[in-house]
Amino acid sequence: MNTPASPAIGAHRAAATPIVIVGHVDHGKSTLIGRLLHDTGSLQEGKLAQIVESSRKRGLHIEWSFLLDSLQIERDQGVTVDSTRIPFHLGGREYVIVDAPGHRQFLRNMITGAADAEAAVLVVDAQEGAQEQTRRHAMLLRLIGIRHVIVLLNKSDLLGFDEARIAQAEADVRALLGRLEIAVEAVIPASARDGDNIAARSEKAPWYEGPTLTEALAQVPPPGSRAALPFRMPVQDVYRFDDVRYVAGRVERGAVRTGDRIVIGAQGQVATVVEISRWHAPESTVAGAGESVALRLEPDLVPDRGDLLFPADDAAAAPERAARIRTRLFWLRSEPLRVGESFTLRLSTAEHDVTVASIDAVVDLDTLMLNPGDSVPADGFAEVTLAAAHAVLFDPFQPGLSDGRGVLVDRFQRIVAGAPLIGAAALPDGARAIHPTASRIDAHARAKARGHRAAVFWLTGLPGSGKSTLARRAEEDLAAGGSAVTVLDGDTLRAGLCSDLGFSPEERRENIRRAAHVAKILAESGQAVIVALVSPLRADREMARQIVGESFHEIFVDTPLATCEARDPKGLYAAAKAGKIPEFTGVSAPYEAPDAPALVLADGDAAALAERLAAFIRREVAL
């Protein structure tokens, strides 16, 4: 066992090529995969017997799809729900076959399976021809940038492998894919059930001279190299271990070498790479596309997660920079998308707040035409312009590359859309357009001018716990010391900005969302912001934290319920107990205490607590 590892010279093994199988429900995707694995001898021992047994139990002859449809619901209902990936070996090359569901309801699972595929097999029932999901999947293949598409005309036995009828079916599919500008590698008349033209040439179609499916798969070229492009690395995280700072990330394009001068993100600071650190790996002064590395920089700057690193001394090698970006979007939420909605745009490791500034065109799936529209339906496709609050650095999406691939995330951190970036959008003429503008003053410059940093201090606690009182006293104290400080308290907000809101859980959440956004704006102007809001639910406070970002500090004003009731400064507890106020926190609605507040204010008189609060804030905003 002590034999040292000594890989043979030239034993380079390429990574597996992912191939996704897509198409309309019931056109035979899972059957195809079962047949493919069986005919190429890729099944594990006993697997065939298992499938025969599962099929027999359900009164079926032999159901190949059971190979991949492993979930009970999938077998009982005969439908693939979620994607499966299976390794597959063919002629000395490794593949991963991805079985994607064809049912519209599971489109998000289809994308999950298909998104990183190198090639796709589009399965089309030769008799039925292209159906709704055939078109939808073809559209997605184009949007996610799959470059190699093989069409399998399945169930060709139903057409008796008749040359003329198959030629017609082929012409129809080619016309459809042609309109989507998808180049087709091959159109193969086949029967997955019987194995015709899958791994072996069928005798039933002697006229067919094109490749079998396995021959077509063997012809898919390996992924192209990204090494020759200008260097890009989005910062994933920054670590400090044993007093050494590491800037961690994955190289997405090009290569970086020690000694290279690089620009850090939109702020544009420049640093030199002094070391490419790896653990238990060969020393190397270069890292290329695809490698996860950690850089040491000189000067020892601290980039933020999401900052894009790129070459400093070649203007032609810089990424695009824009606050309005055109995207080609696929929409995954069940409710339609409308202009004015806000999301987080995730782009590699970066996150940007964006608003849908305009819906420029919506795809009609029946005609595949781009039409004007003011909303994008569920599972729909559209060209959409996003407006960000700040300039975004990006590279437009290109098939085969890993960047320029945006994803929209809602405030519950759910992925609701894929948004490949097309390029910077020209400004529209109208004043109606939503156009958040980026400030030209950065946070650091503001802090320097003010003499302190900005942050948000979120006070949560029962009604009557003393949040507003403590906030106001601390405000006075800090202002007297020359700090820029603002208090946002619940009653003040509800008197104005939030006067349209009541106290249902949804309206409370909206109240908190607005408060968090206002707090964020104030903090961006350089202020210390104290928010005093009951904010009883952890999930809502978590949302506020997400909105505000890293400068968010949760502070728990931990006054016992009995004390609050006894104080009852606004007479609310009495009214709630008398049933006059429904859903009153602490009486008839829950209060969830924070798990790990940055500060707890308990046990003390108001003056002492306010002093502690002010001291805490002073410490946190100190330069």
Partner: protein, 279 residues
């Protein structure tokens, strides 16, 4: 056990091979988990896959693990595994947390016997997650091990009761992973999902990662997968070194989990275990 070796020497311009790519992707996933999910812990089952996972975490964080490793101990592991745990927790400087499991009598009696025994681990894991209020749990499952694991996400959110909602998994593409929002949720992180059994062994060979001896043949038998000693059985094999195991796997067509009794009791036994929170 295998001793440490010096890192390999490689030419400067380096074309990534399959193991390099798997490693880079796993490192990316581990760094995402560490950034997005705290408190975070890594499940160390003492088996080959979780040793590879610890190794990859050391790759991600410059030789150290900035979060604890947890061993959910059924109390029924092989003695060799406990000896290994003691030795490498120290050598690798791991912050080791142990979790115990309830007796089998407290487990759902409608499960088949071996699955019922395996479900003890689920209960032990649930307790650890709750005690430490974990938001992220890193686990070493792979897609090629078992058909329901093939349907998993890299970041797999678990709601209240830790249930795996197989019918409603979030979309996951372009390296964008779901992060939990609601209280009481956690995410199972699966950095080895794309690895195959043979990749694991080739990586063990390349990196010289130490393993429990039970994986290597004695008297014509070896363990291919390690679980509780009473429901795990050795397979016929003469592979006594890492290289011999790799050679064996290159021709083998039997399933890795053939020796794990709980997988074979009923068609849906494993899915039921997983939905309830098993790995």
């Amino acid at each position: 056990m295998i001793s440490h070796s010096e890192p390999r020497v490689m030419p400067e311009s380096h074309v990534m091979d399959d193991l390099d790519q798997l490693e880079a992707q796993s490192v990316f996933i581990l760094r995402e988990a560490y950034r997005k999910l705290r408190p975070l812990a890594l499940l160390w089952s003492l088996g080959k896959d979780s040793n590879v996972m610890v190794w990859l975490a050391r790759k991600a964080f410059m030789g150290r693990l900035p979060f604890p490793v947890m061993h959910v101990d059924t109390g029924k592991k092989f003695p060799e595994m406990y000896a290994f745990r003691t030795e490498y927790a120290k050598k690798w400087n791991l912050d080791l947390m142990l979790g115990d499991c309830p007796p089998v009598e407290e487990i759902d009696p409608s499960l088949p016997p071996a699955a019922r025994s395996a479900a003890r681990k689920t209960a032990g894991l649930a307790k650890l997650i709750e005690t430490h209020r974990l938001r992220g749990v890193i686990a070493g499952i792979r897609r090629d091990e078992q058909a329901t694991r093939a349907k998993e996400r890299v970041f797999s959110p678990r709601g209240a009761g830790h249930r795996w909602d197989v019918r409603n998994q979030p979309p996951e593409f372009w390296d964008q992973y779901a992060t939990p929002y609601e209280d009481g949720m956690h995410v199972r992180v699966h950095p080895l999902l794309a690895w195959r059994e043979i990749d694991i062994w080739r990586y063990i060979e390349r990196e010289n990662i130490p393993l429990v001896d039970l994986y290597f043949a004695k008297n014509g038998k070896r363990y291919r997968s390690l679980g509780d000693s009473d429901i795990t059985f050795p397979v016929e094999s003469n592979a006594a070194t890492v290289a011999e195991v790799i050679a064996e796997l290159e021709t083998s067509k039997t399933s890795e989990r053939a020796g794990r009794a709980m997988d074979h009791e009923a068609e849906d036994a494993f899915e039921r275990l997983r939905v309830a929170g098993y790995l």
